[in-house]
């Protein structure tokens, strides 16, 4: 094989490498889906509304039942006091809202805001 033929083989190899690399870049890589993209969901907004309403209704129902029990208990043992309920843990939404207020008021820097918000989201 002379030098010209060797050069042609090298050039063909280079072209092949370019073709394979381009194919990978523009077809396979963008085709990878993230966890959320791959998952299926029935209803995004509706699912949250439904969950919010049902959870709220359950909470209200539970509170009502507890209140009724408490009232009945008080009627029987009106001199006895019940222990105070523990404080509810703030939700991610309320924490982010509080963070928004701190950022808007200039109490924290944008970098601190981003770091803190990421920490809240990571906890979910």
């Amino acid at each position: 094989m002379n030098n010209i033929s060797k050069n042609r083989v090298v050039n063909v190899n280079k072209v092949l490498v370019v073709l394979v690399a381009t194919t990978i870049c523009f077809t396979i890589l963008p085709g990878f889906k993230t966890e959320a993209q791959a998952s299926k969901g029935a209803a995004f907004l509706g699912g949250m509304v439904a969950g919010h309403v049902v959870t709220g209704a359950v909470s209200r129902s539970k509170r009502r039942t507890e209140a009724e029990e408490s009232q009945a208990y008080s009627q029987q043992h009106y001199t006895r006091q019940t222990a105070p309920a523990p404080a509810a843990k703030p939700t991610a939404e309320s924490r982010i809202k509080q963070l928004d207020k701190l950022a808007a008021g200039g109490y924290i820097t944008p970098a601190e805001y981003k770091t803190k918000k990421k920490a809240i989201l990571d906890e979910m």
Partner: protein, 141 residues
Amino acid sequence: MMRVFNYGTILMVLCVFLVSGTNAAELSVDYLSGRWVIDAEDCSSPTSEIIEFNKNSTFVGNRNGKAEIAGFWVLKEDNVELHMVTSPASFQDLHKDLAEFNGIYSYFEGRMLIFNLQEKSFEAYGVIGKEIKRTSAVRCP
């Protein structure tokens, strides 16, 4: 052979850079305006959930070919505030107890934290009250 390998490696790195660069998008009213199908469903499928953000700050959530949620949206940094009205009865297929809300329309406040923006897709965390859902959206033609 080594030269070919190096040449290919450089090209791969360049291509990955180009792909990530061409797909990156900036969150704006113009970007978000339009129709988005949720959870990578088919835009033309009648059962898909489609959210349409209008440039006039209104939005509509459609599912099964019907508008289920309507309201206003406000873009604040990477958050989209949602002020919406819907009848929970629209979602009785998700929870049968919601049927009792038939004809009752209520206001809900929520937000979408948008991330992983691509030219024609994004991911988001949705928050309404204590409810949090992660989803992805793909732009419909």
